[in-house]
Symmetry: C2
Subunit: 483 residues, 2 copies
C-alpha cells in the first residue's frame, strides 16, 4: 500500500477544504461572530500547517496508485474531510459534542441533510453558511469521483453512466478526463449562479439564496430555516427549488451534451426519461391524493406541494415545504416507495439510482423471455449499447449489498429502542443520503436523540451510501488485506 502518496493526496484535500473554510470565516467576520471566527481560524491554520508539512515531507512518495490504494484514499478523504469540517462547530461551542459535529459534517459532505440540530435558527450565520457549504463541496466532490475515480475503480456498474468516462484502467487519467471534470464543475458553478439569482429575484436575501442553492444543487437538504423551504410561502420559490432539485438529480453529462448541441442524445437518454417518468407519476398520484383530502386549495396547489416533495425524496435532497408526516397515509406511502429509487448516475443525487433500476428491470424482462425461449439468445442494451455481463453482475451485487445494509442498519437503529418505521426509514434516509424519513425522523424532527454509537454508525452508513457502497465495504473484506 502506498501510504505516503495516499497521505499526500489527503493533505492536498485538507488544504483545499481549509481554503474553503475561509469563506464562512469571512461571514463570521462580516456578522461580528467572534467565537465562530475563532472556531474557523484555529482549524484553518492547523490544517494549513499540517497539510503543508505532510505534503513537503512526503514529496518523495512513489507516484503509482493501485486500485487498493484508491479505495483507502477515497474512504480516508471523506473521513478526514468530515473530521476537519466538524472542528469549527465544536471549537466555537455551536455544537457542544464532537460526535454531533462529526455527524452533521458527514451529513453535509455526503449531501444527506440529516441534522442533529434542534434549534437551527439559533446558530451563527457563519456556522449555517459552513453547514450548507459542506453540501456544495460534497456535491462537487461526488462529481469528480463519478467522472474520474469510480470508473477507474470499476465500482458498482456505474460504467453504464458514461460514454465520456474512461474505462477501468489506471493509465486513463488523461487530460481529457481533467477537462471533462472542469467542464462539469463549470456547469455546477453555472447552475449555482443561476439558481441563486432566481432565488434573489424571488425575494430571498443573498445568505438565504446561497445556502438554499447549495442544499438544492448538492441534493443535500440543509436549510438555515427550521421550517426548511416551508419557511417561504412563495409559490415561485417552491417551483424554482423543485426545478433545480430535478436538475441536480440529472446526470451532469447531459448538460455537457446539451451544451455541445447533442440534443437528440439527451432526449434519447433512457435513464433520464425513466427518472422524469417516476417523478411525474409520483407527483401526479400524490397531488390527486392531496386534492381528494382537501388539504390544499385545488389541483394547482396540491400539485405544487406534491411535486416539491416527490422531487425532494426522489433526488434524495430532503427539503420540505410542509410536514408531509401529516399528509394522508397513501401519500406518505408513495414517498416511502420513492426512497428506494434515487437520482441519476453522474448527478449529485444518492440512493440506488435510476440507471441500476432500469438495467435490472430490463434484465428481469430478459429473464422472462428466456423462460419462454430457453434456447434463445437475447442481449440487453442500454442507450443502444449492449450491456456487458460484468456490469450486470456489479449492479446485482450493489443492489443486494444495499438491501443487506438497509436491514443491518435497521437492526442497529432498533437496538437503541426504536420501532420499525423509525429504524427502517432511518436506514433508507442515511444509506440513500436523503435526510428525513418517517416516524421519529420525520420532516419536522431531527437525529439529535439517537445514542452516540448510532450516530457514529449512521455517519459511516451515510459515507458508505455516498461512495457507492462497494468503495467502502471492499476495505472490510479479508481479501483486501491479504498480501
Amino acid at each position: 500500500m502506498n501510504v505516503a502518496l495516499i497521505l499526500r493526496i489527503v493533505s492536498v484535500l485538507l488544504f483545499m477544504i481549509a481554503c474553503f473554510m475561509l469563506i464562512p470565516a469571512g461571514v463570521a467576520w462580516y456578522y461580528g461572530e467572534h467565537a465562530a471566527l475563532a472556531g474557523f481560524l484555529l482549524p484553518i491554520l492547523g490544517a494549513f500547517a499540517a497539510a503543508s508539512l505532510l505534503f513537503f515531507l512526503l514529496r518523495n512518495a512513489d507516484r503509482q496508485l493501485r486500485p487498493r490504494d484508491g479505495f483507502i484514499l477515497v474512504g480516508l478523504a471523506w473521513v478526514s474531510a468530515a473530521a476537519l469540517g466538524a472542528l469549527p462547530f465544536r471549537l466555537s461551542g455551536t455544537i457542544p459534542r464532537y460526535v454531533d459535529a462529526f455527524f452533521e459534517t458527514m451529513s453535509g459532505f455526503t449531501t444527506t441533510g440529516a441534522t442533529i440540530l434542534i434549534d437551527i435558527e439559533a446558530l451563527p450565520y457563519s456556522m449555517l453558511f459552513w453547514r450548507s457549504l459542506t453540501h456544495w463541496l460534497g456535491g462537487m466532490g461526488i462529481i469528480v469521483l463519478t467522472v474520474a475515480v469510480f470508473p477507474l475503480l470499476g465500482v458498482g456498474g456505474l460504467q453504464l453512466m458514461k460514454a465520456e468516462a474512461p474505462g477501468p484502467s489506471v493509465d486513463k487519467i488523461t487530460p481529457k478526463v481533467t477537462e471533462t471534470a472542469k467542464i462539469l464543475w463549470l456547469i455546477y458553478l453555472g447552475l449555482t449562479v443561476l439558481q441563486t439569482t432566481l432565488l434573489l429575484l424571488g425575494g430571498l436575501d443573498l445568505f438565504e439564496a446561497l445556502t438554499h442553492t447549495f442544499g438544492t444543487l448538492a441534493t443535500g437538504g440543509f436549510s438555515p430555516r427550521a421550517a426548511s423551504v416551508g419557511h417561504y410561502s412563495s409559490a415561485y420559490v417552491h417551483v424554482v427549488i423543485t426545478v433545480f432539485m430535478i436538475l441536480a438529480g440529472t446526470n451532469f453529462f447531459l448538460y455537457y451534451k446539451a451544451l455541445t448541441r447533442q440534443f437528440s442524445s439527451v432526449l434519447r437518454d433512457t435513464e433520464w426519461k425513466s427518472y422524469l417518468g417516476v417523478f411525474a407519476t409520483a407527483s401526479l398520484v400524490i397531488a390527486l391524493i392531496l386534492m381528494r383530502s382537501g388539504a390544499y386549495s385545488g389541483f394547482g396547489q396540491s400539485l405544487r406541494y406534491a411535486g416539491f416533495q416527490a422531487a425532494s425524496i426522489l433526488t434524495t435532497t430532503g427539503y420540505a415545504t410542509t410536514d408531509f408526516a401529516l399528509w394522508p397515509q397513501a401519500a406518505q406511502v408513495v414517498l416511502f416507495t420513492l426512497m428506494f429509487f434515487g437520482g441519476c448516475a453522474g448527478s449529485t443525487g444518492g440512493g440506488i439510482k435510476i440507471v441500476r433500476i432500469v438495467t435490472l428491470a430490463k434484465q428481469a424482462v430478459h429473464e422472462m423471455k428466456y423462460l419462454l425461449h430457453p434456447r434463445g439468445v437475447f442481449q440487453i442494451t442500454f442507450g443502444g449499447q449492449p450491456v456487458r455481463k460484468n456490469v450486470l453482475y456489479a449492479i446485482s451485487g450493489f443492489v443486494f449489498l444495499y438491501l443487506i445494509l438497509l436491514l443491518l442498519t435497521s437492526l442497529v437503529v432498533a437496538s437503541g429502542g426504536f420501532g420499525i418505521i423509525t429504524s427502517f426509514t432511518t436506514a433508507l434516509a442515511t444509506l440513500g443520503n436523503i435526510g428525513p424519513g418517517f416516524g421519529r425522523i420525520g420532516p419536522s424532527e431531527n437525529y439529535a436523540f439517537f445514542q452516540d454509537y448510532i450516530k457514529w454508525y449512521l455517519s459511516f452508513i451515510m459515507m458508505t451510501g455516498r461512495l457507492e457502497v462497494f468503495t467502502i465495504l471492499v476495505i472490510f473484506t479479508p481479501a483486501f488485506w491479504r498480501n
Copy 2:
C-alpha cells in the same frame, strides 16, 4: 397453446381436490353440521361431474406441453383450486361473501395463513378442518411443483436446489422424477403422522393435533384457535411446533438424503447451515431483548417464545404464541428483517428463500474480489458445484421483481387508506406467504377490513409469491402472447 390438454390436467386436479373435500364432509357428518355438509357435497358433486365430463370430452387432446402451456397450467391450476375450495365456505354461509371465501382459500392453498375471519372459533369444525387441509394440500402441491415442474420451467434460479431435480427439458419427466416425488410425499406424510402423534401426546385432541400439524408442515399458519398456538400454555407443544416449523422450512431433499444415509452431504449443505444460522442468531437476539425487558421469567422462557416466533416468521408459517406486537420494538424489528428471508428452496416455506440470498451474498463478495483484481478470474460455487451464469441472472431477476412487487403492493394497499407499516408489511406478509405482519395486520388482527379490490389483489400476490413470481408474471408479458 394446448388449451385442451391444459383443461384436461386442471380437471384431474379439481377431481382430486373434490376427493379430498370428502374428508371435511365426513367431519361435518360426524359433528352433525348439516349446513356445512351441504356446503361440501354440492361442490364435490359438481366438481366430479364437470371434471369427468371435461376429462372425457378432451380425451383426444394433443399430449405435447410447451413451456408456455406450463405457465398457464400452473396459474390456472391454483386459481381454479382456490375457486373450487372457496365454495363450501360460501355455500354453507360460513363466510358470507365470495371474495372473502376466495381470499381465505387462496391464503390456505398458498400456505400463507392470512385470514379474513374475525371470530375463528365460531366456525363449524368441518370448515376449520377444510381450511387447515388447504394448507396441507398446498404444501404438497408446492413440493410437486418444485420437484417436477419449476425445474422444467427453469424458474428463478431454483436449479441450484436440485441434484436430484432434472434440467430444463420437457422430455425429462422420467419415472425417476415421479419416484422422487413419491418419496418426498411419503416423507411429508411421515412428518405429518409424527407431529400429529407428538401433539396428541401433548394433550391436544385429534382435531387440534391434525389442524395444527397441517398448518405447521405446510408453513401455513391457519389455526382453529383465535389465539393461534398461544392457546396452549404447554412448553412442550410450543417446542414441538417450533421444531416442526424448522423441519418444514428445510429442503425436503435433505430428508431423502438422510434416509439414503448421505449424512455428510446433509451436514455440508450451505443453504441449510445458513438457514439454521439465521434462525439461531435471530432467536438468541430476540431472547436477550425479551429477557432484558422482563416480559418473561428468565432466559429459558424468553428463548422459547423468541425461538417460536423467529421460526414462525423465518419459515413463513405465521403462527404466534403471543401478540409479538406488544414486544419491545427492537425485537419487532428483528422479526421484520426476518420477513425478507424465507425458508429453504425445496421446502414448503415461501419468501425470497435462503438459497437465493446465499448465492447473491457470494456474488457480492466475488464482485469485491474483482474490484481488487480486475483481471482475475473467479468462480462462485454452491455446494462444491460452480454456479452457472444464467442461474445468477435468474436469481438477480427474481429478487428485483420481488422488490418491485413489494413496493407496488404497498402502493395498492395504501390506496385503501393505510399507512406505511400496514402497507409494507402486508406486502411482505402476502408476497412472502407469511400471513401476519405489523400494524393493522399484526398477530392479533386479520385481513377482514381491507376493501374488496385489495383482497382480490392480495389473493393474486399470494399466488404470485407462492409460484416463484416468474411463473405468474411471465404470463403478463407481451412476449408471452406473441405468436
